[in-house]
């Protein structure tokens, strides 16, 4: 765990080619271990980072290895913030994310797949595309908090500090 008011930043650039998402996934897991997250939360984080990078590679970078996907991991004492940036040369991000209807997929009424974004949202505390990206690409942010009760902090949560005795996610 980090001391108060300190951050650690890890920045990765991976080729926009499927398979390299594994590099980002393992890097995120390493940072989360250093922050003291539980093994269960680390597995959830790995799934979220892998899916986000896979989307960035396939859709934002059109699987063109000459392009880069950038992953910025920012850790502080309360959370791990993961920003995935892609060139934005492919499809636009979806406007809504629906839960998968596997029955419809199995019965052939819906196409198979399309699970990635939904899965990410089940794994992390916050996940959203960042708007007003001046770089022209897509930016997707995910956040996991160290304590479950801090999932959605407000300004009132930040000050004054209170002792939290109920959190199980560390």
């Amino acid at each position: 765990m980090l001391p108060p008011n300190t951050t650690r930043v890890v920045e990765l650039k991976i080729p926009s080619e499927l398979g390299y998402e594994r590099v980002a996934r393992e890097a995120a897991a390493t940072v989360a271990r250093r922050l003291g997250f539980t093994p269960e939360r680390i597995e959830e984080l790995k799934t979220a980072v892998d899916e986000a990078c896979t989307n960035a590679i396939r859709h934002g970078g059109k699987s063109d290895a000459r392009m880069k996907v950038v992953v910025v991991l920012t850790a502080d004492e309360t959370k791990l913030d993961i920003l995935v940036k892609d060139p934005g040369v492919g499809d636009s991000p979806p406007v809504e994310v629906l839960a998968p209807d596997i029955q419809a997929q199995v019965e052939g009424r819906n196409p198979k797949g399309g699970l990635g974004l939904w899965l990410i949202r089940q794994m992390v505390d916050e996940a959203y595309f960042v708007e007003d990206d001046k770089s022209g690409g897509n930016q997707f942010r995910m956040i996991i908090y160290r304590v479950a009760d801090e999932k959605h902090p407000t300004p009132e949560d930040i000050s004054p500090p209170e002792v939290d005795t109920g959190g199980s996610r560390e």
Binding site: G19, E40, E43, E51, G113, L115
Partner: protein, 118 residues
């Protein structure tokens, strides 16, 4: 970058076991589908997908498995899955794969269930 997966098929105690060694991602699609199609062509009824606990499965891998449960349903086959970590057992339940395939912690437990010994 290609992530290799090793897919092998064996027969044990009345079941067809498809052993998966490696990450189950888009790179695994051809090998997994071929193993499944080959076993189905040979008339397999009870099919066990035996994962390794430390291997990774992403949404593309889950989509491959959805394709297989779709085929298995048409062929009236029974699918079982074993060896998954608790994380992927949770994900398979969340996605709904467990409506179509029974999960067992170990291969022995899956085989025992087929023999009516639970």
């Amino acid at each position: 970058m290609i992530d290799d997966i090793q897919v092998t098929v064996r027969f044990e105690r009345g079941a067809t076991i498809i052993d998966l060694a490696g990450d189950v991602t888009t790179f695994a699609e051809e090998a997994i589908n071929k193993a499944y199609q080959d076993t189905s062509s040979n008339g397999a009824y009870n099919i066990i997908f035996n994962f390794r606990e430390n291997d990774y499965i992403n949404s593309a891998g889950i989509a491959i498995l959805i394709g297989i449960v779709t085929e298995a349903r048409k062929r009236d086959q029974r699918l079982l899955m074993t060896g998954l970590s608790s994380h992927f057992q949770k994900i398979f339940r969340m996605v709904g794969l467990t409506q179509y395939a029974d999960l067992y912690p170990t291969l022995d437990e899956a085989l025992a269930s087929l023999e009516g010994v639970e």
